[in-house]
């Protein structure tokens, strides 16, 4: 299966009977009506305004990894440890998210090759409860790092999240040091850890594993920051500068190494891996 058909098959609406309704999508940025097929072939990037649309975990893995990669099983974690309930039950929110998603939580790991180079790729999926980091996300991040240690290969993590999963309270906060334990182990093992920051990456995710990479790559226009814009505005009561917390702003302020278009992402990773990957034992 080519990566393209993999991408296409992972889109929930393509499987349905083709009606005029799902032949077109509207670009969330420039509002242009786009032919779905054209939009998909362009990796969910608007051909008119270059807006990089949000994509799910399988689509992302299909773009970055060579065909035939292995999907790691989701580690089992305690579900709803706090018996959390706001306007609805956390378990109901989970159920709903799972009904609309191919995976059981917001972090999926593929183990395979990037243009023939061994790599493990972890992907955070914004479509699953805003990509929020709870115990399942933290444990899947750890599992990905362990797989990279086992294969002695680079670990690439694609981030996308509003932040920590509030419904898991303090246990979600504890995923920050937990993930950091693993980035340290990768470092000690001499394995490259590369972060791809996508729209949006904020809160506790940014303040832990998203900012600890050997190399930071951001997708164009991605919102990346620690505090949410509304929180900042409420605190300082000032207008936020143009382009604040966007990928290009982070590049200018030295927080990311490069802003790379989606179509060039796989090639860029391959180049970086060639420089940084551990040398093969003679």
């Amino acid at each position: 299966m080519s990566w393209l058909s993999r991408v296409r098959n992972s889109l929930p609406f393509v499987a349905k009977r083709e009606t005029p309704d799902n032949l077109w999508v509207k670009c969330p940025s420039c509002q242009e009506m786009l032919f779905v097929k054209e939009y998909e072939e362009n990796l969910h990037v608007c051909p008119r305004c270059n807006h990089h649309g949000r994509i799910n975990a399988d689509t992302r893995l299909g773009i970055l990894l060579d065909a035939g990669y292995d999907l790691l099983p989701q580690p089992s974690v305690k579900e709803d440890p706090l018996k959390f309930r706001d306007t609805s039950k956390y378990t109901d929110r989970l159920k709903k998210a799972r009904a609309n998603n191919a995976h059981s939580d917001a972090f999926s790991v593929g183990s395979g090759m990037i243009d023939g180079r061994p790599a493990v790729v972890g992907v955070q999926d914004f479509s699953f409860m805003g990509g929020s980091m709870g115990m399942a996300v933290g444990s899947a991040f750890v599992a990905g790092a362990e797989q990279a240690l086992k294969r002695h290969c680079p670990y690439i993590v694609v981030t996308a999240a509003g932040g920590a999963r509030m419904q898991e309270g303090i246990l979600s906060l504890m995923q920050m040091p937990k993930a950091t334990v693993m980035t340290r182990r990768l470092k000690e093992a001499g394995l490259p850890y590369i972060v791809v920051l996508t729209d949006p990456t904020t809160g506790g995710v940014t303040a832990s594993y998203a900012m600890l990479g050997d190399v930071h790559i951001a997708e164009p226009g991605a919102l990346i920051g620690f505090a949410g814009q509304r929180v900042i505005q409420d605190t300082i009561r000032e207008q936020l500068p143009e382009g604040f917390q966007r990928a290009e702003y982070l590049l200018k302020h030295g927080m990311v190494d490069m802003v790379v278009e989606r179509k060039d992402l796989k090639g860029t990773l391959a180049t970086l891996i060639d420089y940084l990957a551990p040398k093969k034992a003679a």
Partner: protein, 315 residues
């Protein structure tokens, strides 16, 4: 003058009656000392029962009490000496995170913590305890220094969260917090962290990724403020009491969840009623922990720290 919280109203009323009675009896022949003693005992008992049954939201208010002891009070009452060290060597010296060399009894430690300030002027100077990137980078610098000179690290965490501002974002608030967490995990020396007031989100975890994490009896520790959680999930900050309940923010809850190791008892009616006694209890608890950890080899300490966080959430 004692300032009372909303839920302390019955105690406040009683205390007021005692004060009035005392004032009225001045120069009076009638002996009311028996009546005064009776009322005072009643007030003390009411205070004790109130504080034994605080809700998570009430604890949040106690943790934020304007007279609650902060870093400087703990330094004054629990430590013999404090030599402040300043600056991150990159940008500036953030006054919301203070650090330096300190003596706890005979033990030499590197002491780092948030300082919220105690009046308008100092609150502004310390930015209400909301750390900026240069504060976290100062903490990193001091932790590395502690590692090189083989001095244990003690942190006192007391922040509503790291500062959300334009310049903090520009200078890499997220990166600074992530590196500070990493610096904790890398320490080859013992580390004891205490949540003394508010443990707010990433700004707290950056100084609390230790092998031993303690909490003051009425401190709170959470991923987001109850108000923040309520405004996102309930769409109104007024549901903060419900959010505090649902998130399990109290020391007692967190000990059961295995997120903290030890609760430091506070004086009856909260640390703000007797800061010196609260600080002494804190000093004793930290001393105990440091003495236990002193026997452990650097690699083992790191392993303890790693295992602690890896175990959280594992089934």
């Amino acid at each position: 003058m004692q300032s009372y919280l909303e839920f302390e109203k019955p105690v406040a009323q009683l205390d007021q009656r005692i004060a009035e009675l005392r004032a009225a009896s001045e120069g009076d022949e009638v002996d009311i000392s028996a009546e005064l003693a009776r009322l005072e005992a009643k007030s003390a008992e009411l205070l004790a029962t109130t504080y034994a049954a605080l809700t998570p939201w009430q604890k949040t208010q106690v943790a934020r009490h304007p007279s609650r002891p902060h870093f400087r009070d703990y330094v004054a009452h629990a430590f013999e000496e404090f030599v402040p060290l300043g600056g991150d060597r990159l940008y500036g010296d953030d006054q919301s995170i203070i650090g330096g060399l300190a003596k706890l009894g005979e033990r030499k430690v590197v002491l780092i913590g948030h300082e919220k300030g105690h009046d308008t002027e100092t609150r502004i100077r310390h930015n209400f305890g909301m750390g900026k990137p240069e504060g976290y980078r100062k903490a990193i610098r001091l932790m590395e220094l502690a590692g090189r000179f083989n001095i244990p690290v003690v942190t006192l965490v007391d922040t509503s969260g790291a500062f959300p501002g334009i310049e903090a974002e520009e200078r890499g608030q997220a990166e600074a917090i992530a590196r500070s967490t990493e610096a904790c995990l890398a320490l080859p020396v013992p580390m004891v962290a205490v949540i003394v007031g508010e443990g707010g989100s990433g700004g707290a975890v950056a100084l609390a990724s230790a092998e031993r994490v303690l909490m003051m009896e009425h401190a709170v520790y959470s991923v987001i403020s109850p108000e923040g959680c309520a405004s996102i999930l309930w769409r109104t900050a007024e549901k903060a009491p419900e959010a505090a309940e649902a998130m399990k923010v109290t020391a007692q809850h967190l000990e059961r969840l295995g997120v903290i190791d030890r609760i430091v008892p506070e004086p009856i009616g909260g640390a703000h009623r007797d800061p010196a006694a609260a600080a002494r209890a804190l000093g004793t608890a930290i001393g105990d922990e440091l003495d236990t950890l002193a026997q452990i080899a650097p690699e083992q300490l790191r392993r303890m720290r790693e295992d602690r966080f890896l175990a959280i959430g594992a089934n």
